[in-house]
Amino acid sequence: MQYTLVIGGRTRRVHLERQGDAFRVTVDQQAFDVHAAEVDGRALSLLVGSTAAQGEGRSVPAVVVPGRMPGELQVAVHGRTLPVQLVPDERSRRRGGGPGDATGPQRIIAPMPGKVVRVLVAPGDEVQPKQGLVVVEAMKMENELRAARAGRVVSVSVVEGQSVDAGAVLAVVE
């Protein structure tokens, strides 16, 4: 797995190798052995050790929330928040539309706490821009969450009747 990220004006290439919850993460030339545990979909606990065998080490509490721009994440480490811009790889760039297009997978996110009343798509479905994907009810209002642009549904993470928190990922379209 390989990601290109822009942080603080600098482009960083991050490479990951996975073994269960343990990862070897290489940022540019620097390698880290990291054990990652999810807390609630936004919060992560990272234990950064020098070797995989140690399995534990420096504790890094982290929180990741979607940024205001497409492809942007707000990443907080040690209480400091940094905007991280995801740069799409060559494949997705070729698949995408014009240069003004937003990039990266579209994460369909619950804007407020509510209940999923309808799931309108299944993984594998091709969707058009503005096509409805999931309907969430909150404060007695039904909100249809739609695709921002064309793509293929790669996952749907909720079922009808399920309660979701604000910020929960409901589906992903690539």
Partner: protein
Amino acid sequence: MSLVPVTKVLIANRGEIAVRVIRACRDMGIATVAVFSDCDRAARHVRMADEAYPIGPNPPRESYLKIDTLIAVAKASGADAVHPGYGFLAENEDFSRACRDAGLTFIGPSPEAIELMGSKTAARQAAIAAGVPVVPGTATPLGAEVSDADVLEIARGVGYPLMLKAVAGGGGKGMRVVATPEELPGALRAARSEAGSAFGDSAVYVERRIMRPRHIEVQLLADHHGTVVPFVERECSIQRRHQKVIEESPSLAVSPELRRRITSAAASVARQVGYTNAGTIECLLDEDGAFYFLEMNTRLQVEHPVTEQVSGVDLVQWQIRIARGEPLTIDPEAALTPKAHAIECRIYAEDPDNNFLPSPGRIVKLQAPQGPGVRDDSGATEGLEVPIFYDPMISKLITWGDDRPQALARMRRALREYEVHGIRTTIPFFTWALDDPDFVAGRFDTSFIDRKLAERAGVPFDQPSADDETAAAVTAALHLVLRAPAVTTAPAAAPESRWRQQARAEALR
């Protein structure tokens, strides 16, 4: 003695102070009625109250400031008392009077006291009558009919540098510093025009400018039986553009002997005007230890928890007990003996790295600090928006300890623990201020923060190190792996999803 019944309280406010009043009522077994504007439908104070009623659209003028609507809701809900909180209608004598006329107990001072102390010049005269020193200056309002020449003559008697202040003022509006007679006519025009548009009253008054003053204030409680109890002073010199941002108690600049004098002066002013309920006398303390009456706030103040942690007294409960007609039973000696050192940071939804501009938006994650010596008075809720219509304060973080170093250490710890995501807050600003050597040593006056901010010259508060950037890169990548093809929460599909996720990850390599 027969007491006035207070069994159900309407809280004519929102945010953290509405929550604070609801808590006091619940502790006393009193029912609570919340009110809300459209955008506050699901706000914390609404969810916490026993009952809640809509009072109109989001702009305060159409909801939280509508006296007739609030009185109607109070009557319809069967409330027998009203707590105004602070801000909004808390210092509006018409509201206090409307409550009284409707047979509702107003949990606060009388309309007469609010009106009297609301006029800065009348308040000065009351202080003079009580034998309390005031900053040298004019005792009467200088309206538009007073000529520049007359004001110049008055100014010569007061001495330069001087301040022009709005009679109806507050919050630094209609205020000008004048260093020389040449500057006076222009400053007078500006101050009058600002006062006129902010308060509907363009009258100003002249006060000598106290150099390098500290802002010291005295919280007091006064019952309906003539008892006035002042508390250990609060130090509120840490202000940004005339707005308090950090408060603490006791003050490093106040000796026990000065405490006696300043608190007994404060009590004299309250007695002079027949004040009842909770109020605060604000003073300036100059470099030589002389103090001057500044003004009286006829309400519960934002920073009241600082006094609560130092004294162990629940001020809001006492406000209700005083309104019922109960006599104060607080030992006055104990009220003047600090039991702890306490400090408060007002956490705002403002971006300190963008000139403290408001940063409204959705709070996507919120985790308040906990542990020994920490109190978080907040009205915010995870998942909800911070509305753009009201004061952007989201929380008051209070810490206390046996002494100032312990209180400060706990504040640093609590600020570090505080997690607010989705909006910007002033937490990084406080982290910086609490580490400033002059702040730690107690060397400051009311210009401290503005001076220190100017010295910073825009260096960002949130300055991530190279290690932070690398950690963020690691975190973002792990988040994308763990979340981007979202982890399916439907149990049956989970194994397939994991498998597919792995397969796709491989395909992307």
